[in-house]
Amino acid sequence: MQSLTNRSVVVRKREMSFMEKLYLPAILGGMALTIKHLFKKKVTNKYPEVKRIFAPIYRGVHVLKRDEQGRENCTACGLCAVSCPAEAITMVAAERKQGEENLYREEKYAATYEINMLRCIFCGLCEEACPKDAIYLTDRLIESKYDRKKFIYGKELLVEKIDERIDISKRKKNYTMA
């Protein structure tokens, strides 16, 4: 039969030679190999003290961005929720009232916005779908908790604080590592 690729290899079941049947040389070889690892550099990070450096494309907990004037970007269009393969996002939209222009950038905003962090697979599709530059994944981690309900992050956890902006420059297309 003609093979479809040129990568196929014919498998041969060869009889073991006498030296191989003795096993002992192979065992000694294996033991020499393992003992060499005793002196190799260890790869362990002592976690709470030493933190691993994340890659710039690391996708962690989401942030809902504000613009320069501190207004929420999200317009509750629901594109992120539609694009989410894990169906982790829900939101309730509301209309911006007179006098709220300093709070929300668009005329419609998300009154509630929830991401279930236990459902989320951190694929980043919500970020790609968003037309308003509103949602980004960051290099922050989810805290461990004892209660499943606490993993549903609402706006109070997702929206960045005005005085504590979250840097998302690493997620932009033209980012280069320093």
């Binding site: 190999l33 393992t34 362990t44």
Partner: protein, 342 residues
């Protein structure tokens, strides 16, 4: 009148041995995890105490506080008896090992061996064989097919490898003309270690020792991947702890037996030229035996983290078709050599 001092002396020795065996078994678990880690480029447990040195205590404490489960369908009496037998037999053999030269305290000659039986080796073999009952009974009483399979494997494996092991020992007995372990050790004084005269016997013995201790590559009775936990699948809490503990004790004792039978026990070449006083020499000899024993414990672990497990048919073929004939040939060669060249 009975000589009370000998009872006191032996009791102290027994208690010390007991403590030392348990401590070494506990720290073997720590050493095992550290060595596993180092051989895999990790650093292993390092949180409990400096370098994780308190880890065995933490593990033991955890074991104590776990829920004690005795399955409804199990035979309760046998279920509890199993780990007891295993642990007891594991601790009993240390009485026969000559741990060092005799000391002299206040004009009394104190031998660092609990019992100097003239059938020492036979006794050790007998006790080790009884230990298998601990596994068999535990696995049977669990009323669980995985446990039963593990127990069956354990018993057939131990019976198969005990034969070859006994044959390897017979060659030693032929050359030493004694069953007494202290005699065998004393005959190896200087550098006349048995391993140089019986290399094949040593190889067979150490392979069988791995099998008897259920260590990889012969850990078929407790293969996690096939049998969940093997014979101790249904065990929890301290009963599981006893099984695991006894296995490490067994490893410690078999390392000591290997050192005694093949590596000169407490003798070390050049120890006499130091001209130490009797008590210091005795302590040095104890240290020598322990360092040999520790080397073998580490060797056991080193092998465990190198080799994969045998398949069951390979295990049986190795035991019956390779090791046993080799051991018999070894006995024949030794016998012929003793008859014609001595």
């Amino acid at each position: 009148m009975m000589d009370w001092s000998i009872i006191i002396e032996k009791s102290i020795l027994v208690v010390v041995l007991f403590g030392v065996s348990l401590a070494i078994a506990a720290y073997s678990t720590y050493a095992e995890r550290k060595i596993a880690a180092f051989l895999q480029d990790r650093i292993g447990p390092d949180r409990a105490g400096p370098w994780g040195l308190l880890q065995p205590l933490a593990d033991g404490g955890k074991m104590f506080f776990k829920e004690e489960i005795i399955p409804n369908a199990s035979d309760k009496f046998l279920f509890i008896l199993g780990p007891c037998i295993f642990m007891t037999t594991a601790l009993m053999t240390s009485a026969l090992i000559p741990w060092g030269k005799s000391m002299n305290i206040g004009g009394r000659e104190i031998s660092l061996q609990v019992a100097n039986l003239n059938i020492g080796i036979l006794y050790i073999f007998a006790i080790v064989s009884v230990g298998i009952y601990g596994i068999m009974i535990g696995g049977w009483a669990s009323n669980n097919k995985f446990a039963l399979l593990g127990a069956i494997r354990a018993s057939s494996q131990m019976i198969s490898y005990e034969l070859a092991m006994g044959m390897a020992i017979i060659a030693i007995l032929l050359t030493s003309n004694s069953l007494n372990i202290r005699d065998i050790v004393d005959q190896q004084e200087g550098f006349k270690w048995n391993v140089f005269y019986q290399p094949l016997g040593f190889l067979i013995f150490i392979i069988c020792a791995f099998a008897e201790c259920n260590r990889t590559p012969f850990d078929l009775p407790e293969t996690e991947t096939e049998l969940v936990g093997g014979y101790h699948t249904e065990y929890s809490s301290m009963k599981l702890g006893l099984y695991l503990f006894a296995e490490y004790t067994n490893m410690f004792i078999s390392s000591a037996v290997i050192s005694c039978l093949y590596f000169g026990g407490y003798h070390f070449p050049g120890i006499d030229s130091l001209h130490l006083s009797q008590n210091v020499a005795a302590l040095v000899s104890v240290a020598v035996l322990f360092s040999k024993t520790f080397f073998f414990i580490l060797f056991f672990m080193w092998v465990r983290w190198t080799l994969p497990r045998f398949r069951y048919d390979q295990l049986m073929r190795l035991g019956w078709q390779v090791l046993l004939p080799l051991a018999i040939v070894n006995v024949l060669i030794t016998g012929a050599w003793l008859t014609y060249f001595k």
